[in-house]
Symmetry: C2
DNA sequence: ATTAGCACTCTAACTACCAGAGTGCCAAAA
DNA sequence: TTTTGGCACTCTGGTAGTTAGAGTGCTAAT
């Protein structure tokens, strides 16, 4: 925003030339020279004039030349200004929207929906698609069920708010009879339905620490087994996000050095940094863009990240987006990400729970 | 085997030289010349003599030279002969074995065990690790449970033979009361426990086609809902195998052309070919090796695949292995793959079911 | 059977050398 | 004052030539 202010002193013409330059660079990846720009811009100005303007743009740090006798290419600031003020996004074709719906609508399990959203993103953009799992703080308890498998092993089925079913096997030290289990389940279902998992765990711990006499037999048993059952149910997420189409990134020659790829792929593996970056997008809605180093992570140098948060019940619960070379067709990518976020939210909203 | 026969006419000395040559080539990736070989082989033969032998080996198609004035490197037949007759495998260090056990033992869910096995393979070998999911034909039914979620949605929990729990949501057209559901579950559990899923489906279909009068009310209801529940339970596998450490492959310069990587990675994506190849390993036990084009798939050119099947209850149910450059340290990789297969089988054997 | 010697070949690395593209600047034109 | 043509300059990328080094095959001597 500061930037917009700073650069808005640029006259129409300079802005227009910058726009054309960026577009041209994005579409063929070569530094753009004054000749090419003069032809392209439709302003009937001679290359010499263009050169003057380009020199100004370079002074402002918006474009740069890899060496004296090459054309110019946008800097990060150049891209930023282009995206914030110059870009004219392309409305999506109806057909695309319909296809997204066709792909997402029939699914009725959260895992597949996320997977499909990610795949749609990567397929449509030919870059890497990325969808974080919906965040779990808001997980509320719906019902629990115990199935005795053998003497010492009990299968716990935990149904949470319309999103998913968790299975877990516990090995209680005490023995529980089949009827004790059912009544424990009944008790828990009655008392805790609708509460969120974190507070349930707290309350269970409290109960167990209380002097036992105050509680009836049934409640104690229930609390004991429930304590086991809920253990670790909070942070049981093994995955942080669904990433698809990483391979597409091999196709971009600006990224296609082995070294780059290696760092990029290990960044995908490590996840922490990426997750942290994505979490920062969770707060506010709408499309966000990180250009190259802007993200603050070296691995993403030369890459841009276009993200949007998605919402369930009007709450932002996750973030999705695409990762690709800085030199990407933003005017097309942005609406795609936006659309996907909206449709993903919608799909999760009225769909039901699922196997993971 | 044919090959062994064919080449066994080679005298001791030629075989020994071939062995040293292959080892040397594997360890530094450069074609090996007569000078180097004469030094390395410990036979106190002059380079000239070595050259004569090398010429013979070349005539037999065991080694080849990339151009006139380079050393020789093994051909596929050369590798084959080396592996089948010349290789001396290194016994594993106790420490390694213990680490594998440490990593695999504490896990109690099938998914994690497979994942860990694959990761162990890729980490220890610095190549790509691969574990197919245990095959499902042998899945037997243990118990089923129905949880009504809402009017039209019922959560089905299907527990199979110690391996895993499947969740599925069905939308029956008829309404089922809570007690109908429990009695249906009881009925199914009583009748079908221990049978395999395929035959259960068949038998269910048969029952449904029979004239209804012959069956009691309960059985009909149960059959109807069970039919829904078992639908698609056979081929519900979304994944065919667990693949880890693909990224490691970027580190090998013989594979590190973008073009190679692309074809390789799309082969991983497509899966069919790879799965088909792996399935061929399922029949027999023991370590199998495919060198380069031997596999019959172009994508694996320049790669070798070292596999072994793993068994549960003395039945081979899956295949695991590593994919890496043809130029890999077989004497170390082979026992590693072997060990992993054995330990994976063991871990699956006495471990219990799991969330997927 | 082995080896030394030698002529030969092929690669990889370095140099030199344009041609092409593009720039910056200056002075003339508008 | 803005625009433009002209010109000298610079940098890259490709091509050609050269050379050192590694390795070979063959022959003749051991």
């Amino acid at each position: 925003m500061n930037d917009i202010f700073k650069f808005s002193g640029l006259n129409e013409r300079a802005q227009h030339l910058l726009k054309v330059l960026v577009e041209r660079y994005i579409s063929d990846g070569q530094p753009v020279g004054s000749r090419a720009l003069s032809r392209e811009a439709g302003l009937s100005l001679s290359p010499a004039t263009i050169r003057n303007v380009m020199a100004d743009l370079e002074d402002l740090g918006l474009i740069t030349a890899p060496h004296t006798s090459a054309g110019r290419m946008p800097t990060v600031s150049g891209y930023r200004f282009f995206i914030d003020s110059l870009l004219t996004v392309k409305p999506l074709q109806q057909e695309v929207i319909r296809q997204f719906q066709r792909d997402l609508d029939p699914l009725d399990n959260a895992g597949e929906i996320l997977e499909t959203a990610s795949r749609l993103l990567s397929d449509m953009t030919h870059m890497a698609g990325l969808v974080t799992l919906p965040r779990r703080e808001a997980v509320t308890f719906r019902m629990i069920e115990f199935l005795p498998l053998s003497e010492q092993r009990i299968l716990v089925i935990l149904v949470t708010n319309e999103q998913e079913v968790q299975n877990r096997i516990i090995h209680p030290t005490k023995r529980f009879s089949s009827s004790e289990l059912t009544s424990a389940a009944n008790y828990l279902n009655a008392v805790y339905a609708g509460k969120d998992l974190v507070s349930i765990r707290e309350s269970l711990l409290r109960e167990l620490q209380q002097t036992r006499e105050q509680m009836n037999e049934e409640a104690i048993k229930a609390a004991e087994i429930a304590d086991l059952a809920f253990q670790g149910s909070g942070q049981m997420r093994k995955k942080d996000f669904v990433l698809t189409g990483e391979i597409n990134l091999l196709d971009f020659d600006e990224l296609a050095s082995m070294e780059r790829m290696r760092t990029l792929f290990s960044a995908f593996r490590q996840k922490e940094d990426l997750v942290h970056l994505l979490d920062r997008c969770l707060e506010s809605s709408g499309v966000k863009i990180f250009i190259g180093e802007e993200s603050g992570y070296v691995a993403l140098e030369q890459c841009s990240l276009v993200t949007s948060s998605y919402a369930v019940d009007d709450h932002n619960v996750g973030v999705l987006g695409v990762i690709g070379p800085t030199r990407m067709k933003y005017e097309r990518i942005i609406p795609l990400v936006d659309l996907t976020a909206k449709l993903l939210g919608a799909a999760l909203n009225h769909k039901s729970l699922s196997p993971s």
